[in-house]
């Protein structure tokens, strides 16, 4: 009998035998119907265990972006240009980085327009609290 791929425990998936697979290798996004997905924020969606939302690629990172709320102007550049849907922004406010999904590409830092930047790359092993302490000062505009 094919196992219910909408509800299977993540740990069990890798041990499934051929006889437990869904014919055609179809994968489902959600455990239960979601009538209007654009109305449901990610944190409220009934993700099936087979949705990569439930997975993580954070270990790909060498460096991580750290977010400094004090400097942020909520411009949303980091949100729109993040390739990995790893900038958590709600109600037009930048909240932080979803480290489970962030691959550490650094685009968010590059596109951040504040001075000093509100997002900066720090070594993966460094504590975010520590990173915030080391935040650089405002850069003076170079005179030509």
């Amino acid at each position: 009998m094919a196992r219910d791929m909408k509800h299977i425990d993540v740990e069990e998936i890798k041990d499934l035998g051929w006889d437990e697979l869904i014919p055609g290798a179809a994968l489902f996004s959600f455990k239960e119907p979601v009538e209007d997905v654009v109305e449901v924020p990610m944190e409220e969606r009934p993700y099936a265990p087979t949705n990569s939302h439930e997975w993580q690629v954070g270990d790909w990172r060498v460096e991580k972006p750290v977010f400094n709320r004090d400097l942020c102007i909520d411009c949303q550049f980091c949100w729109v240009f993040c390739p990995d849907i790893s900038i958590l922004s709600r109600d037009k406010k930048m909240i932080g980085v979803i480290y489970e999904h962030c691959k550490g590409c650094g685009i968010c830092v590059e596109v951040c327009p504040t001075n000093p930047k509100s997002l900066l790359m720090f070594p993966e092993h460094m504590d975010n609290e520590e990173a915030l302490k080391q935040w650089p000062q405002k850069e003076e505009k170079k005179k030509d």
């Binding site: 994968l27 996004s29 449901v40 990569s52 729109v80 990995d84 849907i85 922004s89 999904h101 590059e110």
Partner: protein, 332 residues
């Protein structure tokens, strides 16, 4: 139903239907484009994807990164796949046999948008026949080419979108070669000449321009072609964090001009007006050299013996920009 997006803050209210923890490279433009396209509408979306990076990295068993229905069949058939899903949708709608949730959306005026994503290999080369056929037949769907000018998924071979002078794994620069010998072909015009109601070129770095064009595309009935610049950190060999900057250099140098072609058609499909609009005009056109210098795939062009290719590049870009401006002025 057109989603109102006044500014980036408003756009950021979008609830993504494309998920993280997919397996694309860090800093990949494909993902940014997909997000911008999907977030341009609140209507349901159904996606077909050609074989390529996007396909092999977002549906690797047993995980999917899609919160919309999605299909991959092969390398060369994303267009016919999307077109036939569109046809199937219309048959079911006519027969009154749509699934209830879908029917409810349709009743609210939110018809599903059917989108194909394919790379330049799947578009300019192996998928061109299927694309041309689907456009000629006039199915109601959007085709987005994620144009990174190379077969990135298979390890960086040249495609017919690879620009002159680029070093790829099958057109490598060497002691007696400056790399790719051919100029890339103009897919935007080719697709516009199919009579498609709306065709546009976009860059993910100019998100608002992209979203606006996608929205326009969703509003017309018929096949829509979007050629999206997709800077590739792996094959263009720039640093992942520079994706947006490299994209911008392409736009600001007019290597990657942002424009649209609108074929207005009457109820019989006869085109009575063709207009080309340049949708972004750099304040100051930067030299092509700066765009090339940002990408190690062009590094060898800066050797004395290859400098003439840079000159050639500039000439070609200037001529093309001139052509687009003339067409825009002439309203054709």
């Amino acid at each position: 139903m057109v989603k109102k997006i006044k500014n980036l803050k408003e756009f950021s209210l979008s609830n993504d239907r494309f998920e993280g923890a997919n397996l694309m490279c860090p800093g990949c433009s494909h993902n940014i484009i997909v997000r911008e396209v999907l977030n341009a509408t609140n209507d349901p979306v159904i996606v077909a994807t050609a074989t390529g990076c996007l396909e092999v990295c977002t549906a690797v068993y047993p995980r999917t990164s899609w919160d919309v229905s999605w299909i991959h069949i092969g390398f060369e058939n994303a267009a016919v796949a999307a077109a036939t899903v569109a046809a199937a949708y219309e048959v079911m709608k006519r027969k009154g046999k749509l699934p209830p949730a879908t029917q409810k959306m349709v009743d609210e005026g939110r018809e599903p948008k059917i989108v194909a994503f394919a790379g330049d290999g799947g578009t300019y080369d192996i998928g061109f026949q299927s694309l041309s056929g689907a456009f000629e037949r006039g199915h109601n769907f959007m085709y987005v080419c994620l144009d990174n000018e190379v077969y990135a998924n298979t390890g960086g071979q040249r495609s017919s979108s690879t620009p002159i002078g680029a070093s790829t794994t099958t057109s490598p620069a060497g002691a007696v070669s400056y790399g790719e010998k051919m100029q890339k072909k103009s897919m935007v015009e080719i697709m516009a000449d199919h009579g498609a109601p709306y065709v546009a070129q976009v860059s993910p770095s100019k998100w608002k321009d992209l979203v606006k064009k996608v929205q326009k595309g969703f509003e017309v009935y018929g096949p829509v072609y979007i050629n999206a610049q997709s800077a590739c950190t792996t094959e263009w060999k720039h640093a992942p964090e520079d994706t947006i900057e490299v994209s911008d250099l392409g736009v600001e140098s007019c290597v990657w001009p942002l424009y649209e072609i609108i074929n207005e058609r009457d109820e019989h499909g006869i085109i009575y007006s063709t207009k080309l609009n340049i949708t972004y005009r750099p304040k100051q056109k930067i030299p092509v050299e700066e765009y090339l210098a940002a990408q190690p795939r062009f590094r060898h062009l800066f050797k004395p013996e290859n400098r003439h290719i840079i000159d050639l590049w500039q000439k070609a870009v200037d001529a093309r920009w001139e052509y687009l401006q003339r067409r825009e002025e002439a309203g054709v």
